[in-house]
């Protein structure tokens, strides 16, 4: 126990889990420093949930080692359990029970007395804006409310390490932003958060370090900056008025952005992936390219600048695209052009 430096929140070495013939997790090494949000990014079936379940003592690893705050997840499972909590990918509250009942039950199971459990439940429901729905069965809640009661249940006792498995999948933008706010508040209080996600922008918003996993393996790991540098700054999507001008526009973009330009199926659309090496930001360079197009009399109907999508991250890192669903569109903040055109490219490119 007397380590010279405090143990990291999570430390795994060669973690393996097989289901029948498939190696769902195939030798994962992770180090999650305490007090930060760590993002695990990967498409469907990458093995994110399986990793989280092993770390949360729900699944026994078939190989390798995992320690949480220095405690082995198999041998010291009970110690690990007393310091972590999990918000699973699918609702981890009882849908037949009301919000209050769920939190009361958990309060009792966490060792609170009846009174303390009741007070804590009421405070949490209040803080999460669920006071009005407290007496309703969770199955009647909307997706965003479910996520919130789920997270409230996870922080009933403020944990040292919180696992959030795809906390915003399926949520509308407003609910997603609320979840992000909660995560920020939780981290600000000193809890370490391990978050899995399919969305680069989510990892970008919240995490300080990111591991990208694909087919059970970590294919990239680092700070956000490092990861982005390896992927590129993003891409622009242009829609021209006149399809005949497309070849000329492509040429201008190629020179102005130092980017690969792709022709979409749509005869007026163009996509350019912006390289990461330059001194100017992607937005500045895109603005420059637009000005150049305007000067040469090419009418641009529509323009969007997107972050690299998960698909592009995978393309850049592995040479094959993610097999997951359509990655989410870019965050509103990075979008130029008329409202409603927040599409990133990459996903629309047909292979």
């Amino acid at each position: 126990m007397n380590q010279p430096t405090p143990a990291p929140a999570v430390e795994t070495a060669g973690l393996v889990k097989t289901f029948g013939g498939t190696r769902a997790v195939d030798g994962v090494d992770l180090v999650v420093p305490t007090g930060t949000v760590y993002g695990v990014l990967g498409p469907n079936g990458a093995g994110k949930t399986t990793v989280v379940k092993m770390l949360a003592t729900l699944l026994r690893p078939d190989g390798g080692e995992a320690r949480v705050f220095g405690h082995d997840v198999v041998r010291d499972a009970d110690r690990v359990r007393s310091r972590v909590s999990l918000t699973g990918q699918y609702a981890s509250v009882d849908e037949d029970l009301t919000g209050t009942e769920n939190l009361l039950l958990l309060g009792r199971l966490l060792g609170h007395g009846r009174r303390a459990a009741r007070e804590r439940a009421a405070r949490l429901l209040d803080a999460f804006g669920l006071a009005e729905a407290a007496g309703k069965q969770v199955k009647q809640y909307s997706g965003g409310m479910r996520r919130r009661i789920d997270i409230a249940a996870s922080i009933l006792n403020t944990p040292d390490l919180l696992f959030l498995d795809e906390p915003t999948t399926g949520l509308d933008p407003r609910s997603r932003n609320q979840v992000w706010d909660i995560v920020r508040a939780v981290v600000a209080q000193g809890t370490t958060v391990l978050l899995t996600t399919q969305y680069l922008d989510e990892a970008d918003q919240l995490a300080s370090r990111i591991a990208v996993i694909d087919r059970g393996k970590v294919i990239a790991e680092g700070t956000k900056g490092e990861l982005k540098a390896s992927v590129g700054a993003g891409s622009v999507l242009l829609r021209l008025r006149d399809p005949a001008q497309r070849p000329r526009a492509a040429e201008i973009l190629r020179r102005a952005l130092d980017a690969q330009v792709q022709h979409e199926h749509d005869p007026v659309a163009l996509t350019a992936r912006i390289g990461a090496s330059s001194t100017a930001t992607a937005a500045e360079r895109a603005a420059g390219a637009l000005a150049e197009l305007a000067r040469l009399g090419i009418t641009v109907d529509n323009f969007a600048l997107g972050q690299p999508s998960l698909d592009e991250v995978f393309l850049a890192l592995t040479g094959h695209g993610a097999d997951g669903p359509t990655p989410r569109t870019a965050t509103p903040g990075t979008t130029a052009g008329p409202a409603g055109t927040t599409t990133t490219t990459g996903t629309e490119r047909t292979a």
Binding site: A56, L58, L86, L97, A127, G129, E132, T158
Partner: protein, 290 residues
């Protein structure tokens, strides 16, 4: 059903709950400050908490009480009037003999729903949460059984009341009846661990029911619930006389009639202990592996 329109324009037609008041990170931060972490609850507290959950489920989904009341009532009416005349001369005489037996049979039959609820719950996310808590591990299973004990009690009360209406007059009075029901509950609690095991072992709820039927039907029918075993062929008597349900039925019948069937009560408790010792640990092993 109201259709609300959220601020972002999407309609929510499926829920009656309005989106809650907006909240902010500032409202969440203060509740996080509490770092007080109480010691883990005792085995009893944890089991009672899970038992409370089972009772809440009965409250919110009362349909599940239908199985445990309609079925015993049907059994009682059917067997009393079907066999009564032939076996004991009249339904009135027969019910004195058969009611405790049918009570035993019905309650033992509905123990299989324990396995069904474990099986339907196990894949839900909430189970994962329970399993990440630092708790006395069997408490969740004990919780199911406590909730089920309530169902057995309700089933017993319904059957006994109907029995009284039909002419059943227990010689042991209130005390005898309560002692009989208590013994039945103790046995059922132990017996249910078979179903928690199958609930964890088998994939679907249907297969749990299938296995349960294959165990429960022979066990309850090849007993002294309906008739005195002395009329049966020798090889069958050998089975029937050593069947735990026979011991239980004799014990309950005796207690309710006001006799004190010491040997049968002892046999019943011994069986209960054996079942608990075998299937309890197997269940917990499966649970840890899940």
């Amino acid at each position: 059903m109201t259709t609300d329109t959220r601020p972002d324009g999407t309609a929510t037609g499926t829920t009656e709950i309005r989106e809650p008041t907006p909240f902010s990170a500032e409202s969440v931060a203060p509740v996080l400050v509490t770092t007080e972490r109480p010691p883990r609850p005792s085995a009893l507290t944890a089991s009672l908490a899970f038992g409370w959950r089972a009772v809440l489920k009965i409250k919110h989904v009362p349909d599940q009480l239908f199985d445990v009341t309609a079925f015993p009532v049907m059994n009682l009416l059917m067997f009393t009037y079907l066999f009564g005349g032939a076996l004991a001369g009249s339904p009135d005489d027969y019910i004195q003999f058969v009611l405790p037996g049918i009570l035993v049979m019905s309650v033992v039959m509905i123990t299989m729903y324990t396995g069904v609820s474990v099986n339907t719950d196990i894949d839900k996310g909430v189970f994962d949460r329970f399993r990440t808590l630092s708790l006395w591990r069997p408490s969740i299973m004990v919780g199911y059984l406590l909730g089920d004990a309530l169902r057995y009690t309700i089933a017993s009360a319904v059957m006994l009341s109907l029995g009284m209406v039909l002419g059943y007059r227990p010689g042991g009075g209130v005390q005898g009846v309560l002692a009989g029901v208590l013994l039945l509950l103790v046995f059922s609690f132990a017996f249910s661990w078979i179903w928690t095991m199958f609930g964890l072992l088998l994939r679907t709820e249907k297969s749990v029911m299938g296995v349960a039927m294959m165990v429960i039907f022979p066990l309850t029918f090849l007993s002294n619930v309906f008739v005195d075993p002395r009329t049966m062929p020798g090889w069958l008597q050998a089975f029937v006389n050593n069947n735990p349900i026979t011991h239980l039925a004799s014990a309950v019948r005796g207690l309710m009639a006001g006799r004190w069937p010491g040997a049968e009560v002892a046999w019943t408790l011994a069986w209960a202990g054996l079942l608990l010792l075998v299937f309890g640990p197997v269940t917990m092993r499966l649970y840890s592996r899940k």
